[in-house]
Amino acid sequence: MTEMSRRDFIKLAGAGAAAAGAAGGLSYLGWQYLPGHPRPRMATLGESLWVPTVCRVCPAGCGVLARVVDGQVVKIEGNRAHPMNEGKPCPRAQAATQVLYDPDRIQGPLRRAGARGAGLWEPITWEEAVGEVVDRLRELREQGQAHTLLFLHDAPPGHMRKLIDRFCRAYGSPNAISTDGWDAERMTHLLTQGWFDMAAHNWDDSIYVLFFGGAFLENWQPQTQMLAAYSFMRRGRPTRRARLIQISPRLSVSAAKADEWVPLLPGREGALALGMAHVIVREKLYDESFVEEHTEGFDEFSQLVVEEYTPAATSGMTGLPARTIERLAREFAGFDPAIAVPGRELSTSTNALLNRLAIHSLNALVGSIDVPGGVLRPREAPFTPWEPEPVLEPAPPRLDGTGLSQRIVNDGPYLPQALFLHETNPLYQGVGSGLWRGAFQMIPFIVSFSSFMDESTLHSDLVLPNHTFLERWVDGIPPGGLGRPVIGIGRPAVSPLYNTRHTGDVLLELARDVDGEMADYFPWADFESLLRFRMRGLFEAGGSIRPESDSYDAFWRELVDEGAWFGTRYPFGQWQEVLATASGRFQFRLDQLGDALDRVGLRAEADSQEKPPLLPRYEPPNYAGDPEEYPLHLVPYRVIMDAGARAPNAPLLWEMYGLHIKETWESWVELHPETAHSLDIEDGDYVWVESPQGRIRLKARLYEGALLDVVNIPMGGGHTAGGRWASQVGGGNVTELIVPQTDPFVGSPAWAGTRVKVYKE
């Protein structure tokens, strides 16, 4: 054996080092390639459990089934037992697992530990949290300031909403206010038919539908019902194919799928409706027997439309050819049943109520009220009645009316001393969000029940996080819906992941603790017990579930297993219920406008109208902004993937956000190619969109479905909070552009009444 020379040693060391280096290098880069790593997830180990519940990613409340494997929810599917969506979910429902397992969820009660909005929080116990709220509420009540509690919510369907309303009324506040913006629709029915609710439809028998505004396939509530109805109306009845017309300011998916798109600037729907009424009245195409037996004020109405809304005049007001107006009128009167349906999304203007009244008058003219395929009154399920809350005398005025945020900021009629937030995000989605920022600063105590650290929750003082819907008892009454009573119900699919609590349970505890008087109205230990109490009424009524045994326990179990209960038929022809006005008839003449507003607590601005109008005339909408300086109309809209405050951080939805225009994770502004070229803007350029209220920076997208003088911007861009994925969404928040204006009668925000200008960066 020869001695190892220095050279040999060096060679050996070198080789050794090289080998070590190679091994290290390979293991660094190669570990994931080694066989069996990462091991793909293989077949199911545990059994699947399908838990029926009510989806709460949007306010519709469709019946869904949560598939639970080994205690984890892996999929959401439709619940066939629920008659509204019949086993079908909409795309938003699939985000429910991402809501439940959102890594940025608030995991327990928090108290602000720095300035508002600083993002500094101190985790506290539920006792402390509830205790602090109780103290504040008790203090306010003792000082006679109970009416200054402002409880903002986004119309959760079902008993959560009823509980909130009840809580506020029992507490002494008239301010349980929904940010859903549908009060104009409800008010329309109150004035014409005497009941304050949204319309119900049974699409299965509809044969001609004129959608005034909105986008029925993307923005309806309840959406799945409409999607299913669309299919049925097209091909479900082999000899009767429905004709669907979409009137809107942009070519949405709905307009593209409709038989005809009637382009109309927002706010002008009333003029079109009255122009059609003119033709129908003049040519005597209306349903004479219905008008004779069931309406009041027809003569004044006909005189109005015949004199003032000729096709020529209406053509001037709407920008549509007179021929089109006449044709639509004749078609509308020619099909039976034909219905006129105002949209249920953001396109409302300063004349929202009057427009809707005009539109609904068309339904009365052709006798489409309470007939198969017509406009129905939703019937509520026969819940066990609970003791009515005390009526406040004198009734303190509600805070909304002509714009909630404006009223707060302008100090009248009184300042809210406490603000509760449930599933709503006014700092982000409130019109003129700058106003809300000001309003927040003036409110001394803000509590959020949100599960997500969104913009409004970030600026609150206390967070009492709710369970996500898959972790709690939920119920749902579809807004509008089918007419016959429907209730969806759901039990928790999984146990709560974190130290959150059902907001319903929290409200019940608050009610019990504030003072004994209030506690009397809330004798239920928790939300589940409340539901159990209320559903007993269904047991007695019969309906879709008739358990074999006579026990309510059996009924309850079966109800929870089914996930839904419904009455088996809609009672047509109950005119006392359907036309519940003082006259017992459909009111063309708006006798009760002032009273009605007072009755539901919406106050008209004293100085905006000398006296309320008696007929649904057309008041041209106000477009804020000088047309010279701001030549384009702004139309904000919601895409179907927008779940608002309920799922701010679901990457599935953001990635599917703007598929119709090939955009993801970012909002945009749609411009007609000609408009864009006149401004020297190419597809994909970044531009400023500026209104008298503010400006935002957006990507410009050329879209042939935009009108020449209109730009369309979706809600959802420009989040500054909500979670790691919400923060990555680009674009800008369109609400910052909207000049705060409201309908003077119902105070609903005029989303589509702002003018803008667009220019390159």
Partner: protein, 442 residues
């Protein structure tokens, strides 16, 4: 240091050819250093790609292929001229090719590995590359590729090596003042070649036989590379002309490279009397013929598409002519034909410098041509889907790997010229000629 004067005698030529093997100039060290650095950057980029995934490239949906595939086609193409000159011209008896043969074949031998390497770099799962052997399916054009490129590489190396044998023996015998390891290398590689006439005769026969095989192979290889594209149904790819087009383009770019190599070698190693005007002139004529053929295919392809006006094809057509790829497309035409062709016809006749310029332009242009073949079709497939944007921007990873591939090719080539004679000594030797003709004469 030997500085041989420029003479005409054979032994002086020989000395000239063997001279580089004995010394390392400073220029050479600088070159190696530079190339190695570029290569290392590329290697680092690849390691990073391996650890993270192909996402570090600019490829996306629908542009599933990018610069790596372009490199693959380009490098395989570049190799063809070597085979053309050393095999095909050998068969037709074009004697002028002799001094160029090894320089050209070296391009082949060193660029095919980078071609094959580019494909490997492009794989999503290079750890599974042997699946091609375990589970290979002959219905797939890619497998024809694997087979033919492997065969091509193997046979080129063997062909090259055999042609190198006598010179290795020569170096072994003649070069005494080289380091021990270098001498050992020659000795081992020379495989005991003893300079017998019989060995030479056998060698010639083997080389002739292999030349036939290589000719068939060179036609197959690049046609099969084209088949990977033309066997799909994508617009503009799915055409019968792609195979011949690629083949012509390959020999075209390869010939340009050969001219560049020749010029550099001539200058650096003072081979003015070995690589003469005559050789450049023959290459020039070859390049003219290839330019015309290439342009002919170009015109035929585009005229046919344009005349037919089929929608999916026109989308790709306009991508090339007026769309996102227009600048590169027109640059390619200029660099492949519009500028070099007149140069070849005019100033190229007298100036090697201009020939080199033409050769460089042709090579850059041909790389662009591969790019133009691959990318526009991928950006405009049949159904441009929902989130398929249809654009592609190569990232620094891809560009540095490309640069490293070129650097690697040149580096290997340079290292080769450092240790082995770049012009075949034995084939120019009168003695050897005598051995070979002896048999014929008898």
């Amino acid at each position: 240091m030997l500085r041989p004067e420029i003479t005409q005698t054979q032994s002086e030529d020989e000395a000239l050819l063997l001279a580089p093997l004995t010394r390392t100039s400073r220029g050479f060290m600088l070159l190696v250093g530079l190339l190695a650095t570029v290569a290392l950057v590329g290697i680092f980029a690849y390691i990073r790609q391996l650890s993270r995934g192909l996402g570090v490239s600019g490829m996306n949906r629908p542009v599933y292929w990018g610069v790596y595939i372009v490199n693959f086609v380009f490098f395989i193409g570049l190799a063809h001229s070597g085979t053309f000159i050393s095999a095909i011209l050998r068969l037709v008896g074009a004697g002028w090719r002799t001094p160029l043969a090894r320089a050209a074949e070296a391009i082949t031998v060193f660029s095919v590995p980078f071609g094959a390497g580019s494909i490997l770099i492009d794989l999503g799962r290079i750890d599974r590359m042997f699946n091609v052997f375990f589970y290979g399916r002959y219905a797939s054009a890619l497998l024809w590729d694997v087979t033919s490129v492997s065969l091509y590489l193997l046979s080129s190396i063997v062909f090259f090596y055999f042609a190198l044998l006598p010179d290795l023996a020569h170096a072994r015998d003649q070069l005494t003042e080289v380091p021990q390891w270098q001498h050992e290398m020659y000795r081992i590689l020379a495989l005991g070649w003893r300079d017998h006439p019989e060995q030479y005769r056998r060698l010639e026969k083997v080389l002739d036989g292999m030349a036939v095989f290589m000719t068939l192979l060179v036609v197959t290889v690049h046609t099969v590379v084209a088949f990977v594209f033309s066997m799909t149904l994508q617009p503009v790819w799915h055409t019968a002309v792609l195979g011949p087009f690629f083949l012509v383009g390959a020999v075209f770019s390869g010939s340009g490279a050969v001219v560049i190599a020749m010029a550099i070698l001539r200058r650096v190693f003072r081979l003015e009397n070995i690589l003469t005007w005559k050789h450049f002139d023959y290459m020039r004529q070859l390049l003219i013929a290839l330019s015309l053929t290439w342009m002919y295919f170009m015109i035929t392809e585009h005229l046919t598409i344009f005349y037919g006006r089929e929608i999916p094809e026109m989308q790709v057509f306009f991508q090339r002519f007026t769309g996102a790829y227009a600048p590169l497309f027109w640059a390619m035409l200029a660099l492949c034909f519009l500028v070099p062709f007149p140069i070849l016809l005019t100033v190229g006749k007298r100036s090697i410098g201009w020939m080199v310029v033409a050769g460089l332009m042709i090579n850059v242009g041909m790389w662009l041509e591969r790019y133009i073949v691959v990318l526009p079709t991928l950006t405009r497939p049949h159904l441009l889907n929902e989130l398929a944007i249809g654009t592609y921007t190569p990232t620094w990873t891809e560009l540095s790997i490309t640069a490293a591939s070129f650097a690697g090719l040149i580096l290997l080539y340079a290292l080769f010229t450092r240790f082995f004679p770049i012009v075949p000594i034995w084939e120019r030797s009168e003695e050897v000629e005598a051995y070979l003709h002896e048999e014929e004469g008898e």
